[in-house]
Symmetry: D2
Subunit: 377 residues, 4 copies
Amino acid sequence: MKTAARANHREDIVGRANVEDTPELLAYYDELDKHHTAALWTVANKIEPWQPQSSSVPVVWRYKDLREHVLRSADLVSPEKAGRRVVYLSNPGRQDVAAAVGWLYSGLQTMRPGELATSHKHSASALRFIMEGSGAFTIVDGHKMTLGANDFVITPNGTWHEHGVSEDGTQCIWQDGLDIPLMNALEANFFTVHPELQQAVTYPVEDSTAAWAAGTGLVPANDTWSHGYSPLFKYEWAPTYEALARYAKVTDGSPFDGVMMNYINPKTGGPVMQTMGASMQLLRPGEHTKAHRHTGSVLYQVAKGKGYSIINGQRFDWEEHDIFCVPTWMFHEHVNANPSEDACLFSFNDMPVMNSLGIYREEALKENGGHQKIQTP
Amino acid sequence: MKTAARANHREDIVGRANVEDTPELLAYYDELDKHHTAALWTVANKIEPWQPQSSSVPVVWRYKDLREHVLRSADLVSPEKAGRRVVYLSNPGRQDVAAAVGWLYSGLQTMRPGELATSHKHSASALRFIMEGSGAFTIVDGHKMTLGANDFVITPNGTWHEHGVSEDGTQCIWQDGLDIPLMNALEANFFTVHPELQQAVTYPVEDSTAAWAAGTGLVPANDTWSHGYSPLFKYEWAPTYEALARYAKVTDGSPFDGVMMNYINPKTGGPVMQTMGASMQLLRPGEHTKAHRHTGSVLYQVAKGKGYSIINGQRFDWEEHDIFCVPTWMFHEHVNANPSEDACLFSFNDMPVMNSLGIYREEALKENGGHQKIQTP
Amino acid sequence: MKTAARANHREDIVGRANVEDTPELLAYYDELDKHHTAALWTVANKIEPWQPQSSSVPVVWRYKDLREHVLRSADLVSPEKAGRRVVYLSNPGRQDVAAAVGWLYSGLQTMRPGELATSHKHSASALRFIMEGSGAFTIVDGHKMTLGANDFVITPNGTWHEHGVSEDGTQCIWQDGLDIPLMNALEANFFTVHPELQQAVTYPVEDSTAAWAAGTGLVPANDTWSHGYSPLFKYEWAPTYEALARYAKVTDGSPFDGVMMNYINPKTGGPVMQTMGASMQLLRPGEHTKAHRHTGSVLYQVAKGKGYSIINGQRFDWEEHDIFCVPTWMFHEHVNANPSEDACLFSFNDMPVMNSLGIYREEALKENGGHQKIQTP
Amino acid sequence: MKTAARANHREDIVGRANVEDTPELLAYYDELDKHHTAALWTVANKIEPWQPQSSSVPVVWRYKDLREHVLRSADLVSPEKAGRRVVYLSNPGRQDVAAAVGWLYSGLQTMRPGELATSHKHSASALRFIMEGSGAFTIVDGHKMTLGANDFVITPNGTWHEHGVSEDGTQCIWQDGLDIPLMNALEANFFTVHPELQQAVTYPVEDSTAAWAAGTGLVPANDTWSHGYSPLFKYEWAPTYEALARYAKVTDGSPFDGVMMNYINPKTGGPVMQTMGASMQLLRPGEHTKAHRHTGSVLYQVAKGKGYSIINGQRFDWEEHDIFCVPTWMFHEHVNANPSEDACLFSFNDMPVMNSLGIYREEALKENGGHQKIQTP
């Protein structure tokens, strides 16, 4: 029976709903229920919260804990049967939608030398961040690119794509990031297996990078790119780190993020894809940033160094290859624990969604010199 | 214990996951679970569906069924206690998020003469479509506008707004439409009660319409509007119907929608708000449109006439003031049952979200001359 | 010999060129000349002026002076021989480029009942403002529209267009406005006569207005317009005047322009064409605006009432149908001399060029309460 | 008397003006003249040409001819008196506006070690291409950058800027490119000398490049740049040439331009400034491109190699540091005369103007396999 379970979210504040249950009202609610309707005041305070309360929880996934399990998946299941061998990150608050944080999915995928996954496409946008191994490659709409550690690569929505490791490579692991949960939530996810299971490489290998990451403020003339995502698919680690190091010399950096750069679509100067953005930030030796919070979810991977982040008052230690998340509207600050080496955090996020829909909001922590007090559990 | 309930979504198709459970794998899954991770192949087919399967169901809410309940709410609860007296539309598939369809909330609100709701603002964007009564008004960031039947009005995200009915009016009913479920899903919803509970009217009454809907391709010169939503807040029924009638004379219309016009933001030519669009369409006497389907959810209100729509193979009859929804990716076609009078459908939707994120997709029904076969239940 | 005529623009100010001619330098200049080069310092002060000094002069063209000459042109030359019978406005400072002001061409065209000009297209953008007569019409890319007094119509760059007067009409006069001088200056002007001399009317008459000026914040749904100019070609006088009157009730207006509205492209909210904008402004009874100046040229036609404008310190009286210009960077203010009736000024300009190129600049007159002192000649 | 000199541009083609002079008409023209008006049909064919006929002529300026004259200017005039010591390129068809081609100004500037020009700003946009010497630097709005051979640097409209050569440098020569003639033509040119004659360097040296050309698809996060021009001011030669070489490996290139890249504004992916774009193109060993023509003027400088271009049927040989122009709508094709080395052409143009105003047009030569026949003079 519905009535028994019916919640009534009351608040004793002017401007908020505060209606006591009465027999008459409960009968009225039952009547409304018959017509696929209900009384707003019973749920108004719940559905119009004072501020977001993320259902995600902060988590750090330690690579030393996961690595063996990821590698083992290749023993346990064949690529033919599994499609992809991935251990995905399951946020305790988001298990129902298979998300690592908010509406972002992430997993650690492994492939062995000589393996090649089937080609498919889907409405979900995807990205990879290479963690270890040699010989990995990705093909996107006929463009093939080889991948090394800390390279960042996108396989945007609607593109045919597949991954593989060359015969002379080693077993590889990389982090996948997708907006699968968002696409499912928006009920806009389509999936197609390539009719020939594999696509042809129709452009020179590495052509996307050669054309679009060729260098310093230059792009191909006379191009006719008209997609909503970047024509540059791969962003290599070496020039990325170099870029950060170069930029670090001339900037004070952000109080909240240290020296931070966004990966961009060179056609627009905006995010690499319409639903997900990505960044790399450098924390200078010993740097301890100030805390802020914002709408939008972020998933970090430690590309270099060690340190910790304080998220919603909890301390999370991290080192290379560890992954951690910052849920929406939780204060967070980062610390590079090494007094003599810099640390680098790769991250991806759903900020493009926040910005496109006009709902990005940001706030610095005002108290305590901008630093959170660490809560002892 | 988790293992017992663990689902494994297998499909016997090349390119899809198809891994049998074994004791070894089940033990592996348990191990992964300890680290807040899981094996992708157990859920891959579920989270990457072949095409969207909306959790919403098509519903028609008949006004003759709801009207008395809506009016009665004003007897049952005071505005002070209820905040707003609204009977909201609760899609059987979306009760958990209080949505009428997809991520769109809608309800029927009533107010009595002399009542004035408290002022507030929220991240959710809102719109109203007036159904009955006289004397209703809305105030948005100091701009007051009076409202009559079939007027469409927006109270965009982040604006102070409140509604009332003048002393010499009658009890009013209007449909509210908001993206509250989306804002909650995106964990970006903020709510604030106006510090003085009521805001001042700081502009001449009806100034927004007088300035921005003044007429035929003209807008105020030297304006400095910089918001993401329309500076025109109210779209009146009389000129809207006139516009449709005028346009109908020179167009063949759309095969799927008859003679359809979008309410626009005159600053951009685009949708009225960043998360919701709205349209009014006229079905010519006896018109029977063809079926198509698209991503994005739509909620219709019958502004004029009677007829029926076939949604996902089911027939839904409607007449003036009835409200019905078309969930994502369901085929739908509309029929004006009156051979001598036109019918008008007001609708609002989340297409701006689909378009901003690059995931709008549309498909005409190819079979059967473009018409669905009605399924007998 | 060049040397004799060689100018040397010297200024005795630090940071400006100030080089005396010497025999050695003059010989050097002669040497440079042989290689199609010259010394910058001889012209630097000339080509980098402190501020713009328009070569146009303020002019008022009085309709009572011109009307008979315009009408008479129809007696003097046949449409076949003349192409179009137009008396064009020749600014004394711009005779070399046939401009009325700056890079804007304008003329008064006349046609008799039953006449139809040949169809052509060109890179120049064009607009018309109807002055007198009945039965005039214009066809643009298959769209025919009828024209009455004070209607504003565009025939954008690259469109096939032609004008005519119906058999049952009267001799008509309208003002043409084109960016011909600009197109010629930019060496981008192409001209083509329609291969069949006349184009077919392929859409319902008035369809552009019926679709795009249908009313209050509404545009056709599902349209695919992709041109750089407005799909709305005709802006009628009656709704325009109504719009101004309506807007006037809720605005204080601009200190410099009274109650002013821009004609817009409903697809973008921006100017009607990429090179020319147009506006209509209402000066309230007795209104005397303040003076400002800006880059960009403006040509006004008095649509209603009488008064005067002070341009660069000179007073220019005007009444209905008079045309006057304000050259770039000249202070100007307007006066409605009638204490009980409003006055309306139609105007067109090259502001879209200024804005697209990032060179719009504006300045209010600070002295004398914002009013110019009228110079006695 | 005007009548004698009055031209009447007749064409015996339907749709064109073809009115014979008669005593009556001549008298009529005199009458019109009194009212600052004239008859359109006397000039219509002139001001509406069939296609653009550029007043500029193709020219090649050979560096070996100019270099000594440029260097000598530093002997002849002091920086204090000359402002800048520049030998500017004076197109024989554009001497009246001091343009090298179309509306583009260009000159060769020289400075000696220890010299520092006064700081100023103007509405004209400017760019430099360094030709020889060491120790040159430019300061733009507090950002200082050092310059080497073949570096490309912008000093956009409205920015304070100045140039100098360090004490330990050598006499430098670079090419200036400005849109001064266009700004003057548009009567929108303002000039201001810095109140303190010199500006302070307020950012770390090279910060613009370090931040915005840091590398491969990365830009500073959280930046708030809102100007219409690029935040990246300097584009260095080494990475530019590397980029071309890299891109050349994966592209067939353009049939008309070989391997060509555009310098871009990393904030938008568009041109570096709103009125001028710039490109670098590589002609592969022995490459002979096909001929095309387009609206917009281009000024080339040979950055590397030797060859020739055929412009409007004339052959122009060039080698390193030579400068040549292609006027609007003239067919042109390029030839790298070296069968074993590549050649590089730097160029700048006014294409952003063509594109912003909707008047870009392009046409390939259809005859003779796409190659012009060289006219013997």
